[in-house]
Every structure is written in structure tokens, then in C-alpha cells.
Amino acid sequence: MSRMILARLLQAGLVVLVVGVLCFVLVRALPGDPAMRIAAGRYGPDANITEAAELVRRELGLNQPVLVQLGASLGQLAKLDLGRSLVTGLPITKELRIQLGATLWLSGATLVLSLVLGPPLGLFAGLSRGGWVDRASLGGAIILRSLPPFVLGLLLILFFAMLLGLFPPAGYGTWRDLALPALTLALSLAAVSSRVTRDAVSAVARTPYIAFARLKGLPEPVVMRRHILRNAAIPVVSYLALQAIYLIEGVVVVETLFGIPGIGHALVHAVIARDVPMVQGTALAMGLLFVVVAAGVDLTCHWLDPRPKRI
């Protein structure tokens, strides 16, 4: 037991080391003087950036050899200290709490909405292949998926905020603020998850074991619940995991459009301003999240399909 814990700890240490080094090296390999970038990030484009950059260089020790700086950065990480943002001066843990928190709220709301919209529609479409629900949902999915989130978001703002006055066009703080950005993302996700569900359901519905289940006289609700839903859920759940990851890392456009202080927005700013601790902290937190999501999906798939996997 203690050996396993030790192995896991070593593994975690290795992950921190690799992420820490990679973030540092990649950010530093980008063109441009980091001190100038940090100064521009801090003081904005009206300031005297050259003078500010000299102070930044001295304050952060950017004139020391790169290996010394890398060592200092890793030393800090080794003490489980993510440090402070080079731009805002706030502790990274606080930045993550606010910005990753905002993204998690948005992602959660999006996933719930997309689950309500996508799979049920896919189920109907899959059970009546070629019927009007199937064709209409295919058309809808193609249109929603081909609209860039930016355009879809604006359309939703025009309809729900301007015309109906139901939700605010932008902002962050209450569930009302989350409605439109979550719907923007959920529609794109539901467009695909409805099709994945539809394919899975229609494939399962045509298998011999479903025909046998019906033949042996099981009532249709039982066939549906015990055989169709459960078997069709496996690819859908796996796909949901991909969607969750897409949500956490890829919503920067939607965050910007709706004024949400999310992690995508923060990461873009951090890379532009060469804010190494912020990039490291975000990468570590995201890495951890992906592990949690992947583990959750594995557990769910195992519960859905408990047969031991043959490799």
C-alpha cells in the first residue's frame, strides 16, 4: 500500500516537473522580451513600457541566467507554491479560484443543458431512422455546428436579450448571466451529441440481441431501459468526456463575448503577457481536471459495461 502511494506521489511529482519545465520553456521560447511583455500586460499600452520593463526585469530577476530562473520556478513549485501572477500580482491560487471557477460553472451549466437537449433528441432520431425527427435534427445539427460560437452567441443575445428581454446580454455573477453563454455552447455540443446518440441508438436497435429481447416478449420500456439505453450510452459518455475537455479549454471566444472571467480568457492573456506562473498554474489545474474527468468517464463506462476489457 505504502509503495503504491509512493509510486503515485512520484508520478505526481513527475507531472509537476514536466508541466513546470514545459510551460517555462515554451513561454520563454516565444519571441519578444518577456520583461516588455509583462510591463505591457501590467501597465497597458499608454504607459512608458521601456522604463517599466527595466523595473520589471530587476523585480523579477529576469536578467539572471535562464537556468537560474527555471530553478527558482521549479523550487517554488516543489514547495507546492504556485506563486503570484507576474501581471496582476495576485496569488495564482486566487486567480484560479475565480477564473477556473467561472469556467467550471459555465461548463457545468453547458453540459447539463446539452444533456437535456442532445441525447433525448438523438434517442428519438435513432429510434425512427429516416423519419422527420431524424432529418430535422440532422439539418439543425449541421446548421448549429457550422455557425461559429461568436455568431451563434450574438444571435442568441439578439433573440433572448434584446427581443424577449429574458436574460442579460453579458455579465457574470448570477445564474441569469450564465444562461446565454451556456446555451451558446450547449447548442453546439448538443448538435454533435444528438448525432452520436442517434447513431449509437440506431446501431444498438438493429442488433440481434435487441431482436431477441423483443422476441422473448420483454415489454418495450424494459428493452429500452435495460438494453438500448445502456448499450448506446457507452459511446455517448465517452464523447461527453471529450466535450468536457473542449469546454474547459476552448471557450475563450464565448467568454470574451459574454464578459465571463474564465480560464480560457485568462490563459490567452497570460501567454500574451508571458506570465509563466499563471500558465504553469493553469496547466497543472487543467491537467488535474482532465485526469478527474477521464477517471469519471472510465468509472461510468465500467458501470455501464462491467465486462472485463480484453486488450
Binding site: M36, A39, S85, P169, L257
Partner: protein, 503 residues
């Protein structure tokens, strides 16, 4: 019976309280990138959370802020700022001269504009702050308007000396601060001036201009700053909104490297200026052809705008003649050449302001008409200062703010000093101009300063170390449910405390 009355009164009071508790919703593009005054001080100053010693009124005149009055000795070297009686920070502690002096000393050691003032010493003397200069500098009070000099309570600072929270002395105090996009304010009980009309303010940063317009139109926001030119006409037609436009002292200009072989010839700089279709750019991109910059400063900047100067305007024939005089002849591909080298360079700009990249491409097309090949490169805002520093800058399109200090001399002194500066001249210096600027800095009589300002503007208009392209305006949208909205072209103070709910 008496109890019933009390209950009724309490209910009445609570309903009034509820009506007042509705926050004033303010939306702007400015993110709270760190709470250090040098970074986001402008936001805390504009939102009336923190104060500077000196402020400005709507006409741009210097008025008291934390200082109720100020005076200078005969020699112009010693300045005395008297603190406002009874001024207290939001934590209840008094604003003392020692705290102010300490703040200003720290700011002077930093990189803000105040560090350019020739300060010898800053000392507290009872309720006065005394600033001693090493040479006369009449613009000192104007420098003390800059947001980097806001005075915060000692309780704002953490153990490491870092600003951890904003405890100011203005009419509003911070209720909650969620960088980078959100800030909530409430009336400070310590404020002794006129009571703000609206008890709470909710500030939300929204980067997208189109989203800001939609927030104004949907009625979600009461006061929205910085609208995109394309949205303004539509917003003006909305009966529920009141659109205010102010000309602000910000000029978009071409920063040319006058030391480079391409632009060292003054005829070439003049030719480039004559090749620009400023009216076309302002009409199409900024939707207001009055913003075509015929000289460095807009008309609103009285004393600095010189109506008699020959305006910078488009004249392609003159541009071609000037270029030919400078030895540039058209090559086979239509691009000008000299000594076998084409007139080709990179026009660098940045996207911190969304209008800069489209203006750069318009300039690219206009220069092509006189045979000049400009390649547009859009980078980070630090790239132009970086290239200025290492001398590789050829031409940059920048947006320069002249009200960092509410006396344009503050920025001019920095921009055109020998060696140039990030957003000013590159490879260009003029002793005559610098002499004029130093004389202005020592001249307290505005009438005596006027001819010096005019002469300085003549030099800049003739030499064109920076080629003005467009002036700027700030569009503010107020919902008609609020009244008494003021527009401050210097963007020092948004006067939120004076805003009232309309009847």
C-alpha cells in the same frame, strides 16, 4: 397603535432602502489587471474610490482633490499642498500629510509620469505636504492628477508592502473586487462631501464593443463607456438612450524612425503625410470625418490647437513631387526605388485598440498609390517600444494619449526628448523644441505660455517626427433612467457620485 405606526414606518423605510439599493450598473472595456495603483489606479480614480491631491473639473481646470488648496514660493521650487479638512479613509483612519508624502515618494521612485518631475524632497508639515523641486516646474499640480498618485490607506498594503486591497478616501468604497472583470462599490460613510445619489455601483468589464452596445440597448446597463463608432448611430436612434460624445486628447499617429535611411529626409515624411486620406479613414472607420487630424491636437485642446497652421491634408501630386525631389523614382513594378533599393518597410501596429489594424491597412493602400510599399504587421503593444529601443523600428501606427497629465506638456516633454520615447519620436530631436518645452515648464503665466505652445506646434507640424492621422472621441451611453451624467474628456473622474435616478 404606536407599534403599528413603527412597523409601518419600518416597512416604508425598507422599501425606500430597497429602491436605493438598486445598483448603478456601469460597463466599460477596462479590465482590472492587478490592483496596484500604477496598473489599475485609473479605474479607482474614475470610479471615485481613491483620490489624488489634485483633480480637474469638466472644463479641464485644475481643482482640489485631497488637497483643498496649494501654493508655491516665489522661487517656484517649494510647493505646499494643504489637505482637505476631515478627510478620512474608508477604514475610518484620517488622511495624514505623512501618509500622502510617503505615497508620493514611493510613486516618484516608480515608472509613472510623476517620476519625471524634478523632485528634490517630499515632506509632511502638519496638515500640509511640501514638495521641493530641484528646478522650477509649474506643471507640478497637473502631474498630481495622474492616477498613479492616488493615496491609499496604510491598511491597503500587505506585509510585503504590496497593495492587497483598495482602501481609498473617495465617496465610494470597494464592496467587492473580483479581478479581472468585476467590482462593486457602495457609498463610504466616511465621505464628508455631497452624498452620492446612488448608493451602490456595479462595474463590469466587457471587452467586446458590440456586447457593450447590446448591454446598453437591452437596458441591462445604466452607463456604458467607449462605444464602437459603428454602434453609435444605431444607439442614437434608441429613444431610451442618451449618447454623449466627447473629443478626447488622444491622437492616432504614424511614429516614423527619422534616423532610418527611408525617413530621415523631411520631404519623405511630408510626402507620406500628403499621401494619407485622413478624411476617408475617419469617415469609413471612425464614422466621423471631423476626426481627420489636420495637426497633432484636436480643436478641443485650446492653446495647443493652432487654427492658423496650414492643415495636413491629402495631395497626391505634391506627395509624388516631394518623393521625386528626394530621389525616389518609380520602378518597373510601380514601387519607388532609390539606389536600386525599393521603398519598402514594415508598418507595425497592435490590436489593443480595435481600430488600429484597419487604419493601418487603409494607410497601406493609400501609400501604395504613391509607390510606397508598406507591409502591415499587427503585434503586441510592447513591440513598438521594443523596436524603438533597439533601433529597428521603421514605422508604427500608435494611439497616443496626451492627457496622462492634464497639461499636454507632460507628454510632449517625454515624447520629444533627445533619444525619443516609446510612443513619441524615434531618431529625431530638436533643440529648439526642447528649449521651448523647458521654458513652458518654468512659465506660470498661461498668456506668456501661449506663444511658446504655438511655436512648438509649428515645429512639429513642419518637421513631422510623428505624422498625425486621426483624433479620437469617446462615446458614452446613458440610459434615460439616470440623470446628471457628466462627460469628462480627460477621463479623470466619471462623476458617478453626481448621477441620480431620473424622476
Amino acid at each position: 397603535m404606536r407599534r403599528n405606526w413603527m412597523i409601518a414606518a419600518l416597512i416604508g423605510l425598507s422599501t425606500i432602502g430597497a429602491a436605493e439599493a438598486k445598483p448603478l450598473k456601469v460597463v466599460g472595456p477596462w479590465e482590472i489587471a492587478g490592483i496596484d495603483p500604477a496598473q489599475s489606479g485609473y479605474l479607482f480614480s474614475r470610479m471615485q474610490v481613491a483620490e489624488t491631491l489634485v483633480s480637474v473639473d469638466a472644463s479641464g481646470k485644475l481643482v482640489g482633490g485631497l488637497a483643498s488648496s496649494w501654493s508655491t514660493e516665489e522661487d517656484g521650487l517649494s510647493w505646499r499642498f494643504r489637505l482637505r479638512d476631515g478627510a478620512r479613509f474608508h477604514d475610518g483612519s484620517p488622511v495624514s500629510a505623512a501618509i500622502v508624502a510617503d505615497t508620493l515618494r514611493k510613486v516618484h521612485a516608480g515608472t509613472g509620469v510623476f517620476s519625471q518631475v524634478p523632485v528634490a524632497a517630499i515632506e509632511p508639515e502638519e496638515n500640509d505636504v511640501v514638495i521641493r523641486l530641484s528646478k522650477p516646474f509649474v506643471a507640478l499640480p497637473a502631474y498630481l492628477v495622474n492616477f498613479s498618485t492616488i493615496v491609499l490607506a496604510p491598511s491597503s498594503f500587505g506585509a510585503s508592502g504590496r497593495v492587497e486591497r483598495i482602501v481609498g478616501s473617495g465617496p465610494y468604497r470597494v464592496k467587492s473586487l473580483t479581478p479581472p472583470l468585476n467590482m462593486q462599490l457602495e457609498v463610504s460613510p466616511e465621505w464628508t462631501g455631497e452624498k452620492p445619489g446612488i448608493a451602490e455601483v456595479d462595474y463590469q468589464a466587457v471587452g467586446q464593443g458590440e456586447t457593450r452596445a447590446l448591454m446598453a440597448e437591452s437596458g441591462e446597463a445604466d452607463l456604458v463607456f467607449s462605444m464602437l463608432p459603428v454602434s453609435v448611430e444605431r444607439l442614437k436612434r434608441n429613444a431610451k438612450l442618451d449618447v454623449r460624445i466627447a473629443t478626447i486628447p488622444r491622437t492616432r499617429l504614424l511614429k516614423v524612425n527619422a534616423a532610418s535611411p527611408l525617413f530621415s529626409d523631411i520631404r519623405v515624411r511630408r510626402a507620406i503625410s500628403a499621401a494619407l486620406d485622413r478624411e476617408g479613414i475617419t469617415k469609413v472607420i471612425l464614422r466621423n470625418s471631423d476626426l481627420a487630424a489636420t495637426q497633432l491636437f484636436p480643436k478641443a485642446l485650446a492653446g495647443w490647437h493652432v487654427p492658423e497652421l496650414a492643415p495636413l491634408k491629402r495631395d497626391l501630386t505634391a506627395a509624388k513631387v516631394l518623393l521625386a525631389d528626394a530621389g525616389w523614382t518609380p520602378g518597373a513594378d510601380g514601387i519607388l526605388q532609390k539606389d536600386g533599393k525599393p521603398f519598402s518597410f514594415t508598418l507595425l501596429t497592435y490590436a489593443s485598440w480595435p481600430e488600429l489594424p484597419p487604419i493601418a491597412t487603409a494607410i497601406q493602400a493609400q501609400l501604395r498609390q504613391v509607390g510606397i510599399d508598406a507591409k502591415v504587421s499587427v503585434g503586441n503593444s510592447s513591440e513598438i517600444p521594443a523596436r524603438h529601443k533597439d533601433g529597428t523600428l521603421e514605422m508604427g501606427l500608435v494611439s497616443r494619449l496626451y492627457s496622462i497629465v492634464p497639461d499636454a506638456i507632460g507628454v510632449l516633454r517625454d515624447d520629444f526628448r533627445p533619444g525619443g520615447s516609446d510612443w513619441g519620436a524615434t531618431g529625431w530631436a530638436n533643440d529648439n523644441l526642447n528649449g521651448l518645452i523647458e521654458s513652458m515648464a518654468a512659465t506660470s503665466d498661461p498668456a506668456a505660455r501661449l506663444p511658446l505652445q504655438r511655436r512648438a506646434m509649428e515645429i512639429l507640424q513642419s518637421e513631422l517626427p510623428a505624422i498625425p492621422v486621426t483624433w479620437s472621441e469617446l462615446a458614452i451611453v446613458a440610459n434615460k433612467r439616470i440623470s446628471n451624467v457628466q462627460v469628462d474628456p480627460l477621463e479623470v473622474n466619471y462623476g458617478l457620485a453626481a448621477v441620480r435616478w431620473a424622476q
